[in-house]
Each structure stands twice: as C-alpha cells, then as structure tokens.
C-alpha cells in the first residue's frame, strides 16, 4: 500500500501532466488517510467547501508539526511574522482588513480597475518583445517570455516599486521563487536554497527602505496606504507590512503564471474557444472562470489542521492532523458539476474552488482575474497561427502550484497592437 499509495501517486511528478484520473479515484474515498501521521485528503466539492467555512479548522502553521519555510528574514536578520494566509482570526482578519483598505472598496474602489490600462500596456510590451523571436516563423516559450515576467511587473506597480528598481526586484523574486521548488526545498545546502536565502535578505532590506520612504512621503500606491492606515484598524507595523508585501508577491506570482499558461494550453487544445475569444473579448470572463475550475493553478491546500477532533463523511480527523483540501478534485466532482471533465466556459453556476472560499478566499482574485482575462485575450488576438510544439509540455514539480515549466509554441508571427 505504501509505495503505490494514492496520495504518493498524486504528488509523484510523473502524474503532473494529468492528475485528473487520480483525483477521480480519490473522490471514491471522500476522506483518504493512508499513512500513520500522514495527511487526510478531502476531495469532494461539498466537503471541501464545508471545511473552508469550518471554524474548527486552522490555517496557522504554528499548529502543525512540520511547518513550511516561507518566512523571510527581516532587515536585521530577524524573522518576519507570519503573513495573514498563515494566521487565524482575529489576527488574520485585522491584517486582511488593513491590506484590503489599500486594495479595494470602500477605501480604494478603483485600485484594480484603474490598473486595466497599465496591465494592457505591460501585456502589449511583452507581446511586442515576442515579435522578433516569432518573426521567422519561430518558436517562443510562453512561460519564460510572457507569463512569468507579467505578474511580477504588475505587483511592482501595485506596491509602488519605482520603475528603475524593477529589474533588481525581479531578479530577487526569480531567485526566491526558484527556491520554492520542492526538488531542492528541503536541502538547505543546495545552491538554489542559499541563493534564495540571500535574495530574501536583499528583498527584505530593499522593501524596508521603501516602506520608510513611503511613510515619510506617501504616494498613490499600496505600500503608502499600508503604512498610512486610513481605516479604523490603523496601520500595520513595518514588519507586518513587509510580510504582507512578500505574501502578495509570492501568492500572486506562480499562481498567475500557471493560470495564463494552463489557459493557453487549454485553449490550444480546444481551438474553437481560442477562436471565439479572438472574436469576442467579453468571452474572456467565462473562459477564465472555467479555467479556474478545469485547470486550477492551486490544486490543493496542504496546510490546514483541525483544532479539535472533527468528523467528515463518517471519518474522525483527530486534532492536530494535517488536512489536504483537494481543490482540483472538488472542481471536477460530478455531484456538483455536470460533465465535469468537459471544458465549457458557458456552464451555468460555475462556483469553482479555484480561489478557495471562506475567510482566506483569494485576496488577489479581482486582480488575478483581470490579469488573466487581458493576457489570454491579447494572446488570442495577437499570436498568429499559434500551435503546441510539445503536448503535454514539461511541468513544474510542485503538486500544489501546478503548471507547465515551459510552453513551447510555434507561431507564424505576432500581429501588431490594435490600439484603442
């Protein structure tokens, strides 16, 4: 049972290209617990949804035996406090409210919508950049040359990182994100890990400097709002601002890369939808929702734990046990979605689990949606004769943040921007 255990097969990189048959098998045992001390995997839509709203479930890493290591050393080598994705109420709620007052309504209702033009500009430039590579009927890698640089640039603009610092900032982020790779993650001596630690220190110091500048001289950006603290909850401490900034960076990075890349892959596998998107930009909205159901960038939430014994589907999950909420399996639960294996942007009532649910529901969802809608629509419009050169493409190792490492595309060219 051990080496062929289902959860091991799911996390095995060999399953990455198509984990969905395994999820189908998984749903047959709604709460799967295979190994002493191992996780309890919950895979049916309604059970997952219920647990995401269950106040007996904690997101606080400190309640778990083996915590993750995504904290960042602060300016003087101190460790940053956990960010709100890893906290329970009331701390979670306070920090999220302050972050929200810098991000959305009622205090900043236009922050995201106001970025529409800027996002289109970034996408436009990236696509212009592809034009030369594509010129001779060439080959492009959608990940390295488009999907990867896009979200970092967006986060820079959102936080208020000055343009001239963007290349440095992106350099650090690239190294940190590379360090999240499960292959090297647990080997502190690996060069990638050493480099990542180094980059964390540098990014931390850089951000601390920026925070100080913005508290002295506020501008119209998120960092300024976070330190100004306009809402009834006041401001975050500098350390809290730093962990929040890093959270936004990490949480909004690989997820968005994968959404765009999975999106293009799926559309190329279903060309009639790519065609329709090219004709009708409004189709981008349901396409992105269906992608979040059909190929969710966050496949599972691996670090929940219960603070008391709970019963799910007749199985008792003991206090302190680790729970895996299998979002991608729930998204294809036939009890909730008719014909779940079909990519169908027109499906009604598509309340997918792609952004989670409950108090930790994705904070960046409005931004992520807009980024993906603009990116996919522009790709559909401007890439001339795109085709998959490798199907399935090579995947990243992570079973949690799942997506292609590269997406080699053949293109006949890149059409010029349609301005307006």
């Amino acid at each position: 049972m051990t080496d062929s255990s289902l959860l091991r097969r799911i996390t095995d990189p060999a399953s990455r290209a198509d984990p969905y048959p395994l999820y189908e098998e998984l749903r047959r045992t709604p709460v799967l617990h295979e190994e002493e001390g191992g996780a309890y995997a919950v895979s049916r839509y309604h059970d997952i949804l219920a647990l995401l709203h269950d106040p007996r479930i904690s997101s606080d890493d400190r309640r778990l035996a083996d915590r993750g290591d995504d904290e960042l050393p602060g300016p003087e080598g101190t460790v940053l406090p956990p960010s709100f994705i890893r906290l329970d109420p009331p701390e979670h709620d306070r920090l999220r409210r302050i972050a929200n007052s810098a991000f959305g309504p009622p205090h900043r209702p236009h922050r995201i919508d106001g970025m529409r033009g800027e996002l289109a500009g970034i996408v436009g430039e990236l696509l212009d950049g592809l034009a030369s590579a594509a010129a001779g009927g060439g080959e492009i890698d959608l990940v390295d040359e488009f999907a990867y640089p896009f979200p970092v640039t967006v986060i820079c603009r959102l936080l208020g990182v000055p343009r001239e610092d963007e290349p440095r900032f992106r350099g650090w982020v690239d190294v940190i994100v590379a360090g999240l790779d499960p292959e090297t993650r647990h080997d502190p001596a690996a060069p990638a890990q050493r480099a990542a630690r180094q980059a964390r220190v540098q990014l931390g110091m850089y951000l601390a400097g920026l925070v100080e500048e913005r508290s002295r001289e506020p501008r119209d950006d998120m960092l300024s709002d976070l330190v100004a603290g306009r809402g009834p909850d006041g401001a975050m401490s500098t350390m809290e601002v730093l962990s929040t900034a890093v959270l936004l960076l990490i949480a909004g990075h690989e997820t968005t890369v994968n959404l765009i890349t999975n999106g293009m892959l799926t559309l190329l596998r279903h060309p009639e939808h790519l065609e329709r998107l090219r004709e009708d930009a409004a189709y981008g909205v349901p396409v992105v929702e269906e992608l979040l159901r059909y190929e969710p960038p966050v496949q599972l939430l691996p670090s929940r734990t219960c603070i008391t014994d709970i019963e799910v589907h007749g199985v008792t999950i003991p206090e302190g046990a680790r729970i895996w909420l299998m979002l991608a399996a729930g998204n294809r639960d036939p009890e909730r979605f008719a014909d779940p294996g079909r990519f169908d942007p027109d499906r009604p009532d598509n309340e997918h689990l792609g952004f989670g649910s409950g108090v930790h529901i994705c904070f960046g969802a409005p931004l992520a949606r807009l980024e993906a809608q603009i990116a996919l629509t522009e790709l559909a419009r401007r890439l001339d004769g795109p085709r998959l050169l490798q199907d399935p493409p090579p995947y990243r190792l992570s079973p949690v943040l799942r997506g292609p490492r590269h997406l080699p595309l053949g293109v006949d060219g890149v059409r010029p921007r349609q301005d307006g």
């Binding site: 709203h53 106040p55 007996r56 109420p89 009890e335 409950g358």
Partner: protein, 463 residues
C-alpha cells in the same frame, strides 16, 4: 416523466402570477426555465416592472443608487403578458379566475400568490397624512423620502428600531443628518435578535451619533398649521421637534384581496404546505393555488413544523423557485421548501447576517469573536439544539452554522473554534421580549445539497 395532465399544463396551460415583484418574477423565470410553454400573466398593482427593495433603505437613501435604477436583473426572457398598475381584487376559487380592479377577469389553471407585504402605516390616519411623515416599502416611498432628506431637514425622527428603521437611521447619520430613534423595547433589533445582540446594536446607534430613545412609545405626531409635521410626543413625556418622521413599524400582509375567497388567508399571511400549495379555510390543501414570498406562511420541519412568515429576500427567491417547480410537476416530482431562513442587513458600517430562527432561541453563546469588538458569531440554542446563528462582520463562517442548524447539532456548542474568547464559553439567556416556545418534538434534519436532492431525516423523539 409527467402524467398527461401535467404534460398538457406544461404545453398549453394558463398560469397567472399575482404580485409582480421578487417572488413573482423569479417564479416566472423558473417556470420558463423548466419548460413551461403555456401562457403566463403577471399582475402587479405597482406601475413598475419588478425592482429590488433592499437597496431602498441602503444605497438609495445614501444617494449611491438612483431609486429608479434598482430593477431586478433578469435571469432569462419570460414572455409574459404584463398587467402592471392594476390590482387583483378578488379570487374565484371554484371558477379559477382572478378579478381585477379594472373590471377584467383572468382565468387560470395554476395561480401563484406573491402579493408580499406593505409598510404598516402610522395608526392615526390624520397624523399619518401630515406632510413629512413617511414609510419605506416602495420605490415611490424611497423617491419621496430621499428627496426630503436631500433638502437638509433639521432632524429625522425614526419610529421603530427594527432592521429597516435602523438602516434608515444609519443612512441619515452617514449624511450628517440629526437623527432620533424611538423604540418600544430596550434596544434596537431586539425582536429579531434578542437583547444580548440588541445591546451591541444600541452601541452602534449611539456611537453613530443617533439620539436613541428606548423603552418609549410615540404617543402622537404633532403638525403645524399648514399640515407639516413639527414634533413627536413620547410616552415618557418628552417632545422631540422634527421635520421628518419615518414610520418603521413592520409590515402588513397583502391578503385583503383574498377575503371571502375561501383560502386560509388573513393578517398573518396565506398558509401553505411545504410544497407551497395554499390551504383553504377548511385546512385542506389546494392543488392549483400556490404561494411564495413575504405573503406566505409555511410549516418548516426544522423548526417544529411551525408556520413561519419570513420577510427575507432569499426566502422569496427560494420559495418562488420551489412553488414554480411544483406548479408544473406531478406529485412525485414535487419538492419541499426547506430553505433555512437567512437575512442580512448593513447598518453603521457593519454587515449583519442571521440564519435560522433566532427568536426561537432561549440562549445564546458567542462562539467566535467578541461582542465588545462588534465582530462575532453568536449561536442560539433551543432545547439542546442549535436553532440559529447571527454574525456581525463575520459572514464567511455562517455556512458552517447553517449545517449545525440543519443537522440539529447539540447546544451548547462545546467544541473549540478559532477566535473563541473566554466570554464565549458559556451560554447566556438570549433575552427575547416574548419568547415563543414550541413544544419539544421529534428531531428532523436536512441532508443533500442540490434543491432536487434535499431530504429530511426523521428521528423519533427519545423517551
């Protein structure tokens, strides 16, 4: 599979909906979505196509939404014969006809009654007619009140601190108007949520700058020589000068048009079974008249089969969908209306939501957050079971408490929860002014997720 009658009904039957608002519209849409191809007539006494009411006491009063811009979004085309601006004035049950105020008659094979409620007027008719005295139920009410509020009155006097009165007070304060609220109970929202939560609501009012008067009744409204309201007299002898009075004393059910029809319709609404079929006065259920929305009273298995009258937006939608489905389905395909009551309100910057029937609760415990911080979840218990929950700025947890209600989970809530404070470990009396105590019966729980597979699990009472 449908038997021949329902086949015919779906193909060419005549369905009449009286009350062209939320419940009426959603029922009509469901009928068409489920394949009803016959004729559909929508009768409404208001001149407008269906619009949404909740914004009237919120965004509209704040000037954030125009009163004539709150049309209900349409889910689909319904291809109906709209008879707007004309009231139904009578029902001939045996002859299956609705009589209209314009003298016309509309025959039906199936009738849906969705006439809702109207604002309870100020009992003294002369005082109610004074210029500056308002109620708030319709779009017209909202337009008139909004116009008056924009003219910077010196003070707004709100009678009744239920949800609507509290929302109006909040909206007025947000616009910087001086506001007095008079409430007969010891705090706002007491009837709906009890005194423990009412005390929090009272703090919200006072901190929001409302001059809140509790344990008082308004005894008279005083007008000036030209018939404008100028003051309100209270039972404690005080007099408050004001130029706007909003009467928020709850609602009256629109059932007068059914008087003498033979249906079990009266001041408490139109009684119907869990399948939304109306009862006649003999207590026999009809097969061709259905009821949905605020005007309906229906027995709910989770709450001791008590007949509940709910003035809840979500109930109107859910009940309309069930009624519509059942209108065109044979008995074995019919569904029960098992909606767990849910209500939301926003006032003084706080989102309040309740589920279940709080007023049946005898005790409450705060399982998450704290009353003092005005962010919490309170759970109501009744005879050892969780019967309701309320949240202040904590809506995202309520699905969990809904499951507790549906499964008849034990009360007090012993297990730990995130953000449980010391104050929340013990239940305290919920303190409703007039607790209604239904008798202890068998346990009934709900299972299933989709409307079509929701089931009741019946467990006989243990000795």
């Amino acid at each position: 599979m449908h038997e021949p009658y329902h086949e015919w009904l779906r193909r060419e039957g005549r369905i009449v909906v009286v009350g062209a608002s939320l419940a009426g519209l959603r029922a009509a849409e469901t009928l068409r979505a489920e394949g009803f191809a016959g004729s559909l007539t929508m009768i409404g006494d208001e001149p407008h196509p269906p619009y949404d009411r909740p914004p009237l006491s919120k965004a509209v009063l704040l000037g954030r939404a125009a009163p004539d811009r709150t049309e209900l979004p349409r889910r689909r085309e319904i291809d109906a014969d709209w008879r707007l601006g004309v009231a139904a004035i009578g029902l001939d049950l045996a002859g299956r006809r609705v009589r209209l105020a314009d003298g016309g008659e509309v025959p039906y094979d199936r009738l849906l009654i969705a006439t809702g409620v109207r604002a309870r007027p100020w009992p003294d008719e002369d005082e109610a007619r004074l210029d500056g005295v308002f109620v708030l139920r319709t779009r017209g009410d909202a337009v008139r009140l909004h116009r008056r509020l924009k003219a910077s009155p010196r003070r707004v006097f709100v009678i009744g601190a239920g949800f609507t009165g509290s929302e109006i007070a909040s909206a007025c304060r947000q616009q910087g108007l001086a506001v007095t609220v008079a409430e007969r109970a010891d705090a706002p929202l007491v009837g709906a949520l009890g005194s423990v939560v009412g005390a929090v609501a009272a703090d919200l009012h006072r901190e929001g700058g409302v001059d809140l008067r509790t344990n008082v009744q308004v005894t008279a409204l005083e007008g000036d020589r030209v018939g404008r309201v100028r003051a309100a007299h209270l039972s404690d002898g005080s007099v408050v000068e004001t130029d706007v009075v909003v009467v928020a004393l709850g609602a009256v059910r629109n059932t007068e048009w059914l008087a003498g029809s033979g249906l079990a319709a009266g001041p408490r609404g139109v009684a119907c079974d869990a399948g939304c079929r109306a009862f006649d006065v003999r207590g026999i259920v009809t097969d061709d008249v259905f009821v949905a929305g605020d005007v309906a009273r229906s027995p709910h298995p989770l709450f001791g089969y008590q007949f509940l009258s709910l003035e809840h937006w979500g109930n109107a939608v859910a009940q309309a969908e069930v009624a519509a489905h059942n209108m065109i389905s044979g008995s074995s395909d019919r569904r029960p209306h098992l909606w767990v009551p849910a209500f939301w309100s926003s006032q003084f910057g706080v989102n309040i939501k309740s589920i279940g029937v709080p007023s049946m609760g005898t005790e409450i415990m705060i399982t998450q957050g704290s009353l003092a911080e005005r962010r919490f979840v309170g759970v109501y218990g009744h005879q050892g079971r969780v019967i309701a929950a309320v949240s202040f700025d904590n809506t995202r947890w309520l699905d969990f408490y809904q499951r507790l209600i549906e499964t008849g989970a034990p009360f007090p809530v012993e297990f730990t929860t995130v953000d449980r404070r010391p104050e929340g470990r013990r239940p305290v009396p919920a303190a409703f002014p007039d607790p209604s105590l239904p008798t202890h019966g068998p346990t009934v729980t709900v299972s299933g997720y989709a409307p079509s597979d929701r089931r009741l699990v019946f467990t006989p009472a243990r000795p």
